[in-house]
Symmetry: C4
């Protein structure tokens, strides 16, 4: 019989003893910011896949590769072993489709971090502001007041105009549910319009995350992608302005 | 593994033997009337927090304070100890997002009251009438006919034009589910438009509740807030009337 | 802890040995036809309440009487004991709010019938046709082919233009789920527009049901109500025709 | 008490030892393509019904035949025994109404295939393209790379423009969930507009499926139905063109 949530680790991983690990969550969300950052890091650092999560709370579908090979919707775990510390990445196709599933899955993810011996979790996301952002700030949230100084020193904006605001889904729930397991957790959110997949917000988040975990990550290709998008947007804005001028001229 | 509903009491509370306690429920609802009354009482009486309730039936999100500290959506218990009787307050961020969750949570709340030794529950809410109300009445409901005389004597309106009407959510379900545990329960609903957070309706409810539980609560600041809102609304209505007159003049 | 579905019988009923009982279901539905018939029969025959069903699958609310006394949304069981046979009525406020709840509740209702020793169930409803019906037929459905002759002989229309059509909710599910318990079941559906509470359809159903269970039920007051509504509708149709004529005259 | 999912086999089937069986799933879906193919094969091959599946995750209703006989919404199993191999067909009224139900039912179907000793499953469906298709291709998906050569040799298109695309419901989930039980699975999807029940897409799927399972199926009547629909559509398209010409003439 199928389980509500199934976590499977690759055999080699089960025998691995991790070195001061952190877990970085980058599941789909606003502007796909967290997903961009985590998948970019996996790619650049050459992290290896070590496990998978499937669940009846994910959308009821399979995903196909370019040759028609099908697999369940899933979340995935990747491991990067630097000399000094290990990083577990949590990425994937989808989040839960139900409210209850969100809680159960986020608690499962925190259990994965605890079982791996992690003392800290980073959850990544976008902070939708509804308009284009030139120099996206990185807003932060955490599950312990003691983390403030360290986070602010890394360049994260903690003072909020929206006290009482909420973080929906895994990036938020993992902050609170990991506290119940004695783990530290920090959420980094890049400011983004929320309308497009946003590499600029992702580049801002990456710069700060890299500093916080003290693991260098070459940002060149993400910055390149962000620059390209920036130019494309500038070009679009210019052409809109020209249209406006033409229209005023005609008017 | 996460529980469907989790109730945690502060250690000191567990050892407390309460003196003739009542439970007052003021969760979010129509016009936020119940929430306003209960939170105002907690503030003015200086009630102390004694416990928390979290649940997978609450919205799947965390709530941030002004420095980015995150916590689960939750309901909270506060205790006020007068010389003569103790009051437990149930307040919080949200109610359930599902129908089944509403039943399970309301039953849990009644269990909290029963475990604390309470013989009576007050649930508070707004009664939406769809238009501005000058002198909001307090409508009542109860779970035992014997309670009528006492409630009416306190100024509650029990005669209803809407027999067969319903009270949705915790304020309603707790009336009926507490009866199954042998508890008395009274619901007090301040008439409100339903469009705005309504301190006028809250002030009406507070006056009657204070009388019923025989615990004096200084209403000054709530009345002040209600007066301010009353003036603001009068000003708005006047300016709308002026506009109407101008329009008739033009027309 | 609250049960998903709770059935409670009055003590006297538990000791009652029923005489060849049938169960008649008349829960809310299209045109409230089933509800009208069952509640009318309970009233005219003087059936006595013998039990209640509550469930977390009902809407999460309480219902108030004219003095503010609150009770859970519920379904109710009534018993009528004629000289020759006993009738259990199942009526109530609401049906389930979820698909799964519909199945679980309908199965519970069939269990009630089986426990009472009933060999047959009648489920009542409306058959929505989307337009006013002058002489509503009673359409039928059953869970065994052997029942056809008896039902047709009583005046029920079984030949259907809509093979493959469906009956949604308790009136339908009880037909099929009672078959699994070895019970006979017949559904009687009065043709109705579906737009209004329809005593005309109810009167048609009552006439045939009374014949089938061989228990006379004085239809006078239901027929009176149907006649009144018939006249009201005729008056409305006439006035609409007049308007049309006036409009043609103008046009 | 009703089960969440109930599978019942006819007694004779339980004693049957199957000969190299495959399971073919043809439940309702896009263009009803899978349903058309599977039900056509059952009809032409004279497969016999051997079992039924009911579930609280199906819509809460009963389905009537032309005489008013009611039955639960269900899925059905049919068996065809050729000289060389046996085929189990899975067809039915509906798929699940909830996401979780989709997973639980699809896993149940894979369990049925495994229990029957099948080594391979074929799931059938339509591939909606949003416009009329003249010569519908059959797109494929599978749960093991080793199956590619065999499938392509049979005429299935595997190269996809929509890598990352999804197959929703049983036809998709059974691919992935059967892999967990060590079964091979292939999904065949006929290109279809998605707007109409599409015998043309079904005929394309049938031709390839018949080849893959090495069981000849006379396609005459399905092809006839496809030709009729093709002519009807051509006629419709012509008449639309004429209208366009008239309109251009007028314009």
């Amino acid at each position: 019989m199928i389980e509500e949530i199934s976590v499977s680790y690759f055999p080699a991983f089960r025998e691995t003893s991790l070195n001061d690990p952190v877990l970085i969550e980058g599941l789909p969300g606003i502007g796909q910011v967290g997903k961009l950052v985590a998948e970019y890091m996996i790619h650049v650092l050459g992290a290896k896949k070590v496990g998978e999560i499937t669940s009846i709370y994910f959308p009821p579908q399979v995903i196909l590769d370019e040759t028609g090979l099908a697999r369940l919707v899933r979340n995935e775990l990747y491991l990067y072993r630097s000399g000094t510390r290990d990083i577990l990445f949590l990425v994937g196709d989808h989040q839960s489709t139900s409210g209850e599933g969100h809680y159960l899955l986020a608690d499962c993810y925190c259990g994965i971090a605890a079982d791996a011996g992690a003392r800290r979790i980073y959850t990544l996301g976008g902070f939708g502001v509804g308009h284009l952002v030139n120099e996206p700030r990185v807003l932060g949230a955490m599950n312990r007041p003691e983390l403030r100084d360290e986070i602010e020193a890394a360049g994260v904006t903690l003072q909020r105009d929206d006290a009482g605001g909420a973080i929906i889904g895994a990036a938020g729930l993992m902050l609170a549910l990991s506290a119940q397991r004695g783990l530290e957790a920090v959420c980094l959110m890049g400011e983004t319009s929320g309308y497009i997949v946003d590499p600029m917000a992702a580049a801002s988040v990456l710069a700060i995350l890299s500093k916080l975990i003290d693991v260098p990550v070459d940002p060149t290709r993400l910055n390149d992608r962000a620059s390209e998008m920036e130019k494309a947007i500038e070009g679009f804005v210019e052409s809109e302005k020209l249209k406006d001028e033409e229209l005023s001229y005609i008017g």
